[in-house]
Amino acid sequence: MKAGICPYPGLRPFTEEESIFFKGRDLHIRQIVKMLEQNKMAFITGASGDGKSSMVYAGVIPYIRAGFSTAEYNSWVFCDFKPQRNPLESLAKSVSQQLQVPYDQVIERISNGFSGLVDVYKMSGFYVSDGSPDAKNRGKNLLVVADQFEEVFTMNENFHNGLPSNDSYTSVNVLLETIRLSIVENLPVYVIFTMRSDYISQCTVFRDLPEFVAYSQFFVPQLKRTEILQVIEQPALLAGGSVSSRLSEVLINNLTSGFDYLPVLQHTLNLLWKMADNGSKPLDIIHLVKIAGLPKDILGNNEREEFNRWYQQLPEYQKKYYEHPDLDNVLNAHAGCLYESAFDYYMSHADWADKTITPEDAKLIIKTAFTSLTKIDDNRQVRNRCTLSEITGIISKPEITSATVCAVLNIFRDEDNTLLRPFSVKGDLKTQYLGGDTVLDITHEALIRNWKMLSEWNHEEYENLNVYNDYNTQVQRWVDSGRNPKFLLAPGNYAIFSKWYDKCRPNKYWILKHDNTQRPEKEKIRTAANRMVLCEEYLQRSNEAIIAAEKSHRRKVVATISALLVFIAGLLIFSNWAMIEKEKAEEQKEIAENQKAEAEYQKDIADSLLQDVNKAKNIAQEMSDSLQVVVKQTIEAKLESDRARRQAIVALDSAERSNRRAERNLHLAEERRKEADKERQNVIEQMKLTAKANSEAARLYYVALCNTLAMKAKNQYEDKSLNLRLAKTACEMNRKGSENNKNADLYEAMLFALEQNKMIRPFKLDGGMAKSISVASDGTISTFDENGYIKKYSVARDGNITATKQLSDFESKVQMDNAVFATSSLIVCSAKDRKSYLIDLNKNVRIELPVDNDYVIAACSSPNRKQCAVAYTYGEVIVMPADGSSTPVAVKNFGTMITDIHLNGNNTYVLTHDGRLLKWDTQAGEVKTLLSSGGQRAFCMTEIPDKKMLAVCFSDGKVQFVNLSDDSLAERITGGHSKLENAVYSSETGILALSSADKRISLFNTNDLNDKPLVIEEHSLGNQKVKSMAFDNEGRLFALTDDNHLRYWETDPDKYAAVISKMNLAPLSDTEWDLILGREFAQK
């Protein structure tokens, strides 16, 4: 984490970059994404400060980008815009930039409304509909975000006198049509709007917009207590800091619900983080007291003393903000302190600015700037974006330039304060110095509502505007009257307006700020300048007129009375003329009514005639209908007779066919009789054969009975001795039906019965996890564990394994990753640090191997034990001499993953993970492929020396035998039902043992590979996978399992049969026989 990064952004919304700290809205984000998936749009509304923008930029977009939503293509393109002063242009700019289509083409298309945006998307290349398989990867889904959509209503350029501008209307039309087309054509195009809910009623001015809002509106819910807790605590935790529980509780309790609770909280947390040394200390209540958000009474004695010391060092202007500490006061105190210290900041930070202004000038600049950046809209205090030049113009002091204004305001734009946009970055002059046409904006309207000083300024500004509007009305009347002196100000009004004029000092920029008309900017400036000239002139003329008025007062009174008399006379003449005209009009009305009555009489006669004609027409229609009924009945009768004739013909045909079938059946009966005679002869012969088969069946019955008993012996019984008795009976039955005990089911039954009676027991290894085992010719079992210890064990006479010795000479401080016994006295191992070693137990030496960046996967000694081949997982193979030298005889990198290795003379056989068997002649350096990858992976192999074959095992359970004498392929058998992981061979017994991933060991007799193998089942392995296996000289199989247990089994079933047969066990009673095997077996 970058030092000092603050997980709380303060008043500004979270950016996408900061999404990693955006918490508390997880559920709402998922709901919006679901809404988008279903409706192709989401209209997000909520109160000011509810975090709508943050939810989109730091919530929805990162969530979608991370792939947690459903869409047509695998990646996204995002076009976001704020309407600002021209929504169509803003949309076009974003679309042009993101879809990489020239701006001119975009604006031309979307200016015509409707499908304009969809057309641009389709031509952009991000929409792929050619049905190609990689369309998902080539295409990009489109998400359009119209953020702060209320600007369509708040900006005068967009909305004036209750009507939207043409551009606003077009932009809304384009967005709505885009959604509609996306739904109809199922396009991967989505639209999100964010808007303050208090503007929702105004949406009705756009056709269809209310329907779309109702279709997919998301009203941002108020955060619940648990969610606010996440907002407070989680970002700190994510950034490696913490928040004390008591601070969290204080913040939650002291938050006032309603407007601005989230911005106020975020701003407070931002200051708390900085106060706690950028999160290096846990955020606590003392920090809240220090930022004037809580009375100091809550602090304990020590903390209170610390606070008092800290407080004493504060400047006087700052102390007044601690008089009423409260969460709502934090933002007020912060902004107030910035206001007070702005001049000092300006003097010390802006080398490039003029330094001749006074502290009072600085305060005037701040006051003018902030009042310019706010306005009253429909009784709401809202933001009002302004350029730096406009603010400078309103200040209207020749010595104060845009650069000076910028430098004074920079403290509010500083990245640590972020109360004004655009923000500045410390040490970056480009962001500190702004041009005159840069648009400034208040970061969040919460500042307007919480900074008391700004509220007072706004109130004052509002009063000024009201007075100006009155004054301007007077000026306009004067102008409209052709500058008639009569419309100049009266002495009383003159006194009021001139006093206001001196105080407010309006200028053309100030007038411009309050111009709400929809006209070009230049025209507005010209009008404002003219208006300013008029205002000044009006005041001047009024003043002059008031002085002159005293002299001509009487004359004016007389003239006024005369004019009034003339007007009254004119009014009387006009009244007479109006009365005469009224009488004439009434006569005309009477004539017109007479004519109307005559016309109605004529109409009644015409209606009567029309009714007669209709009656005649109805009678004619009825006669025509009767005629049609008669014709229809005649046709039906004819059809009925035709149908009867056809049925008679069909019946005749059917009778003839039955006759022919009877004759054919007679012939067939004769043939069947002859066949039956032959069958009788066959049955007699088969009865003779059956007699022979009966004796074989009796033998097979015993085998079946043996198998059934074996199956039953593998069940769990309360009386464990029952397993043994069943197994013993199975052995007896087997003897009657078979010549040997190599019955796989019987073998499993014996194993199970002995395990149940603890006569076969696993041995738990002490200490670290063993990595590999080996059995020496004298029967000593060795293990090598993760700590480098070599432990020795032997099988006692009672069949139990006992530990005999431990060697710690090769103890390793770094844990061992893998170890392999090349022979019982030669170990190759690799540690977790990827260093590998060769340990010779006979010489008691350890040699570090030259490969130190990989893990050992396999090792093998040559038959004469003079060399040892070591394979590494990622392709390296080395052949080492067994004389203690650390210089390899041969080295080769095979460039692929290796799973096993076998050394035979000069040939090293390498088994690769992708299923190839390679033969490497270490002297000639040649590599020959003996076995190609058949799509299966391979993991192990073992030599069968007496047959000069290599058994290669695959992931599908198959085993391929390869002749070592001529490298030809021999038999291929099924060695298991899943991945084969270990293979060992006993020369003494000819048994090949294969362990598989399904936790079984199969024992194959290599003298007859078609024999069903004996299987050591999962339960015998304690439900564990085999890590390593080895045979001893007596044919016993030892296995090391993943649970660090050592197990062994006889591979000759006769040995277990002999043990069980010798046991003094009660025979199965009749009841047991019936219950376990069923009456059917008993009767037989």
């Binding site: 459903t70 990867n137 993953m897």
Partner: protein, 276 residues
């Protein structure tokens, strides 16, 4: 829009109060009853307890009511506070006496699983209780313990599966290919499975834009700097996007130089992590 129906039934112990708070206690009891919350007489069988603060100090050692049932119940409840037992301290502030220092002391001592509220309305207070008692973390689903949780975008499916096939034969691995057109909400499963893994590995080749956003999202949801499971991001060095992740702790990045070495790099990272 989903509604929280607060289906969890829980039991509340309403502690004794000082005489000046009796009326408040009765009112609160009625509100709890209307909210369908069971009030039980035994602190030990409850899921949470409620204690009212008033004008009399019955909780601190210096207070007159230290030995009253209310004081004793307050102290017992404090000892029970845990993930499964919450303690609610309610101070309807209008009832405060002149000296509220003991309340400041209690607020200073607030620890995890203790909730202090000074909302005057008992309805708002009970709403908060219901919300807190119904809050639950994401349930784990279909996850199982594994060494490596291997994540990739379907855009890089072929190369990712190659790596997975090599890894799975040597380590316990679970894989997840993210496909935007699948209609699956991956987030809960990813987080649940990640918590059951020793390391998370995010692999990308072509899908570099996705990978950066994905890693940031997962980093955030799994606890950021406080996360227990480290993430290993391994990406194509030609798409230099990894530097965007360098601000995040608990994430290791690795640029791919040699495709076949990726499983080894992952194993080395796993070894380093498990060794710690």
């Amino acid at each position: 829009m989903e509604l929280n129906l607060y289906k969890r039934k829980f039991k509340v112990f309403l502690a004794e109060v000082s005489p000046d708070m009796t009326a408040w206690r009765s009112r609160l009891s009625c509100v709890l009853n209307n909210a369908g919350i069971a009030v039980v007489p035994d602190l030990q069988t409850a899921d949470c307890s409620i204690h009212l603060l008033g004008g009399q100090d019955i909780y601190s050692k210096d207070g007159k009511g230290y030995n009253t049932p209310a004081g004793s119940q307050f102290r017992t409840a404090k000892t029970l506070c845990s993930k499964d037992f919450k303690m609610f301290v309610w101070n309807p502030s209008d009832m405060l006496g002149a000296d509220n220092q003991y309340i400041n002391d209690i607020r200073r001592d607030i620890v995890e699983n203790t909730v202090y509220s000074d909302k005057k309305s008992p309805i708002i207070f009970v709403e908060d209780i219901r919300n807190i008692m119904n809050f639950k973390q994401q349930e784990s689903r279909r996850s199982e313990a594994t060494d490596i949780f291997f994540l990739f975008n379907e855009l890089d499916g072929d190369s990712a599966l190659g790596i997975y096939n090599m890894l799975k034969d040597f380590q316990k691995v679970r894989k997840l290919g993210i496909s935007l057109s699948s209609g699956i909400d991956y987030n809960p499963f990813v987080l649940s499975q990640l918590s059951e893994s020793k390391i998370g590995v995010v692999y990308y080749d072509c899908a570099s834009d996705w990978a950066v956003s994905f890693v940031r999202q997962i980093w955030k949801d799994s606890g950021g700097n406080s996360a227990k499971i480290p993430l290993f991001v391994i990406g194509n060095s030609q798409h230099a996007k990894l530097e965007q992740l360098t601000i995040l702790k608990n994430i290791a990045e690795c640029a791919i130089n040699e495709q076949r070495r990726i499983p080894l790099d992952i194993k080395v990272f796993l070894d380093k992590t498990t060794k710690k």
